[in-house]
Every structure is written in C-alpha cells, then in structure tokens.
Symmetry: C2
Subunit: 193 residues, 2 copies
C-alpha cells in the first residue's frame, strides 16, 4: 500500500535521552532517514563530519542561511546550528520516513515548515514523578511547590504543540513506545495514497 512518508520529530528538554533512543530506533529501522544538523562549532574528538554534524565555518553557514538552505537555525553559546532543508526534502520526495531530534525551538520551527510532522515530546524521568511528589510531600514549603507547578505549567503549554509524550523512565519501554508511534503513524488513513 503506497503512502506518504512519516516525518518524525523527537524533542524535549536536554537530559531526556533523545540521542540514545533515536540511535536505537535507527538500529531497529535501518531504512529510516536521519537528518544530520549543520553547525559552526568545532569538531570534538570522535565526531565525524556528516555523521554527527555537518561541520561548517561561519562564512559557509551564513551563506547557506541567507540562501534559505536551513529549515530552522539558532545560535547557542556563540555557535550556529541549523537543519539542512535539502536532505529532508529529498527523503520525503523519495517516500522515505525520516527522524530528527531538534531542541524544542527547532522542533516548533520544523512543525511550522512541515505541518504533517509527527511531534514526540520526550520527557526525562525526573519530571514524570513530579505530580506524585507534589501529592506525597506535604512537608514541602509553599515556594518550592509553586516553583514546581510553574515548571509543570510550562511543560503543559509546550506539550500542546506535540502529538505524543513518551516518558523515558525505562529505556526499553520508551523505545517500544517510540517505535510503536512510528509503526502506527505509517498506517494513518491520511497517509494512504
């Protein structure tokens, strides 16, 4: 059955475990295309150009940015990061499913550029026990509770832009869920041609 490809975005706060989960998903699904980000930051030992990042100098990055070659880009700690448009487009054009793991602002920009993006929010283990903690720790002072609720509120607002939320409490359980999301999305009626 022919179908449109799935554009899967896995995002969430740092420390949620995106890298290892997406690595393992790609091992389970070798046909899945993976979008490598471009960056101006220096290459670290062990990093391979084109595998971990496309390493560009600032001039090159700026030229590509001006030419509209990035779906989204941002500056962080004095370096630029961007998602090259061409790879994503050519994967989608050839009907390949594709996975990306941008940070949260990048994820929102990708969703804007490709409204059919499947958005998965990966929640780190610590946040998942927040509600339970709030209920059980009746000894906690009012300020601490207010702060926690503010964090929960921010997350709830951010979640509205996502389709799925996977809690990375147990790696294998989170992987099963992430894989299930990909398999299920492939069978969506809206993707059947």
């Amino acid at each position: 059955m022919q179908r449109k490809p799935v554009l899967l975005v896995v995002s969430g706060p740092s420390g949620a475990g995106k890298d290892s989960l997406v690595d393992e998903l790609r091992r389970l699904e070798p046909e899945l295309a993976y979008s490598v980000s471009a960056t101006t930051r220096a290459r670290r030992p062990g990093e391979v150009d084109g595998v971990h990042y496309h390493f560009l100098n600032r001039e090159n990055f700026q030229r590509r940015l001006s030419a509209g070659e990035f779906i989204e880009s941002r500056e962080y700690a004095g370096n630029f990061y961007g998602t090259p448009r061409r790879f994503v487009e050519s994967a989608l054009d050839s009907g390949r499913d594709i996975v990306m793991k941008p940070e949260v602002n990048g994820a929102a920009a990708i969703k804007t550029a490709y409204p059919e993006t499947v958005m998965v929010f990966l929640r780190p283990p610590s946040a998942s026990v927040l509600a339970e903690r709030l209920e059980r720790r009746s000894t906690e002072n009012a300020d601490a509770i207010a702060e926690r609720l503010a964090i929960a509120h921010d997350e709830a607002e951010r979640l509205a832009a996502y389709d799925y939320v996977v809690v990375n409490d147990v790696f294998d359980a989170a992987l099963l869920q992430l894989h299930a999301i990909l398999i299920a999305e492939r069978t969506k009626v809206c993707r059947v041609l």
Copy 2:
C-alpha cells in the same frame, strides 16, 4: 503517568480477519477490556453466553433497546445485535482501555457516541492488491476496471471515518501494526491528564 483510556474500534468488511486479530491482541494485552455484543440469534454449538455474545430473547432485547441500554443496534438476517452501553462506560470510568469489533455501521455509531474513539479499518488481503492490479492488467476490459474503481471509491469514502488502516496481508505484520496503534494511542498528548 495518568491518562484517559483508549477506546479502540477495529472494523472493516467481513473476511478482513477481525476476530483472529482482536483475539491475539487481547492475548498480548490481558488488561484490555473487551465489549461483548448482545444478540437475539440462537446460540451455536461451542458458543458461551457472555463470552461470544450475550444471548437475549427478543422481548429482553427490545426492553433494553427502549431503555437506551445499547450504544448501537441493528437487525441482520432477522436477528438483532447491539453493543451494551454499561460495560463500555464502566471500563472507561475505571480507566481501562477497551477494544470492540463492530461491523462498519456499528463502528460509525460508536464513533458518534464517543468521538474520542480510535477507528482502525481492517482491510482484507484481496483489496490491498487492487491498485497494483489496475496498473498491471492493461488487458482488463473497461467495465471490469470501472467496477473495481467503484469498489475502491466506496472504500475510500468509508475510510474517511477512520484514523488508521491496517492491511491484513500477513497476520503477524497486521498484529504488530494493530498493537503499535494501541501502544501509540496511549501516549497521545490529548490523553495525558
């Protein structure tokens, strides 16, 4: 993480293999509630009341129908069939996921009663090769092609009411997809409380 339960409807034309797929899904997910239909037809050898159907006489069925105890009901070959409301409501109230396998009209009625229903269309193997056949059989006469296209058109219209379409070409692959749909739907942001 607390969440709203999934109401999963697996429907499709007869011969699609709903019974064996849903049986196997329930084996994989023993906590999944299963809605047993009520019927006025005679019990066949091997059928157990309350397991295969709730067997009711016509009077009893009509009384329950008048009392609004069925989510949907229909007459087929001189017998009545219905989906008891109470079991579905109590499963959902207690947070249990539930699976049902009504025929296509029943599925539409359930979706109307419970708009959050997850609708899976199970397509029998023969239909899945339709498009391929149409392309390859250039020798086919115009009438035969028109008839096939009409069938495909009907199915396409019906599909609009569904969220997912699973093709039952290979049983294990269809089961994997159906199971993935259930697992993925549990992680939907709209279900997170």
